[in-house]
């Protein structure tokens, strides 16, 4: 639901980066989205063309890499995916874990020429 605002922010950051690095032709933007972040990749793809319209990123390709929502069990140290294990350690059943990643929203790179 807030993907459009998020992409507009992303476009600003990329445009600043492009200006600083004197890049004028961008071919592709690569984003990394954690599966626990509130940003839904499909919605990002849907509103991308509208968000980049009239900007340096107009007509660019968008690639999204999904980062897993992994955590480590504080009881037995097993690393497991939070979403597929019903929020508890599949090895010892503990619900006491620490999140290792999955909330990210990163601009990884741009491909330019």
């Amino acid at each position: 639901m807030h993907e459009l605002g998020v992409i507009i922010q992303i476009v600003k950051i990329v445009e600043d980066f492009a200006n600083e690095n004197e890049v004028t032709n961008i071919e592709k933007l690569v984003l990394q989205i954690g599966e626990l972040s509130s940003v839904i990749p499909k919605y990002v793809e849907d509103c991308y063309p509208a968000a980049v319209d009239g900007t340096l990123l107009q007509d660019t390709e968008l690639e999204i890499e999904i980062l897993p929502g992994n955590c480590i069990c504080k009881n037995c140290n097993k690393v497991f995916n939070l979403l597929t294990s019903n929020k508890q350690c599949p090895k010892c059943g503990s619900k006491d874990w620490e999140l290792l990643g999955g909330r990210e929203l990163m601009i990884k790179e741009i491909v330019a020429y």
């Binding site: 639901m1 807030h2 459009l4 605002g5 998020v6 922010q9 992303i10 950051i13 990329v14 980066f17 690095n21 890049v23 071919e27 509130s38 990210e104 929203l105 990163m106 601009i107 990884k108 790179e109 741009i110 491909v111 330019a112 020429y113």
Partner: protein
């Protein structure tokens, strides 16, 4: 033939906003303006709570309000009647405010010289939790009719706020709302959270809430 190159940016989108927010917070500290970011679902009684709060504090400090909404200015009209300085911010469809929008809002409000500014964020428990506005403190309102399961459904919001107002407690007897369960769930997510049950309608709990603000405003100015 085109020669492609890959340029690494490796920048977190939230990180950029966080930097802006930290910068704004420093400036507010220098200007001695206490900014409270108030968040909640639509219909939780945010505007009524804001009106009550102004009523309780307007004789002792100068207050400004920024009303953020996707559209309309009904809330700003209601607040303007109290004599507090008010500005309506239209987010143009956006579901949250970021630090940059907050900065623009403060400029528009001409906040200089004010002691206490309330930012009434867009009614939403999801997105505003992820965007630091640069506020001195964050507060949220949960109202009794919304249900006691909200900390389970929106954990991030409950974990980032400094204070939780539980509003409409005058209606407790009509709803299956377990006040103690909410307190327990909220404390589990956020052990330092301050919880104040209020009724913006009857005025119950408002004095405790006003006291919290008095202390925070004082601390903010002294630091």
């Amino acid at each position: 033939m085109k020669t492609f190159k890959v340029l690494e940016i490796k920048e977190s989108v939230f990180e950029n906003n966080n930097r802006q927010a930290d910068l704004l917070r420093e400036e507010l500290k220098k200007d001695k303006i206490f900014l409270l970011n108030l968040m909640s679902s639509p219909g939780s009684g945010k505007t009524t709570t804001v009106l009550r709060t102004i009523e309780a504090l307007k004789s002792e400090m100068s207050i400004g309000v920024m009303e953020a909404d996707i559209d309309s200015d009904v809330d700003a009209h209601a607040v303007a009647k109290t004599g507090a300085k008010v500005i309506q911010l239209h987010t143009g469809g956006m579901c949250h405010l970021d630090a940059d929008m907050t900065r623009q809002g403060l400029l528009g409000l001409e906040a200089e010289g004010l002691d206490f500014v309330i930012l009434e964020n867009v009614g939403n428990l999801v997105c505003p939790a992820e965007f630091d506005t640069g506020a001195s403190k964050n507060a949220m309102i949960l109202s009794v009719p919304e249900g006691d399961d909200k900390p389970l459904k929106y954990p991030l919001m409950f974990s980032i706020v400094d204070v939780l107002l539980i509003n409409k407690i005058d209606t407790l007897e009509y709803f299956d709302f377990d006040l103690e369960a909410v307190k327990k769930r909220a404390k589990h997510l956020n052990p330092n959270i301050k919880i104040i049950p209020i009724s913006a309608k009857t005025g119950e709990g408002i004095e405790e809430w006003a006291n919290w603000i008095r202390t925070e405003v004082k601390n903010w100015k002294e630091q």
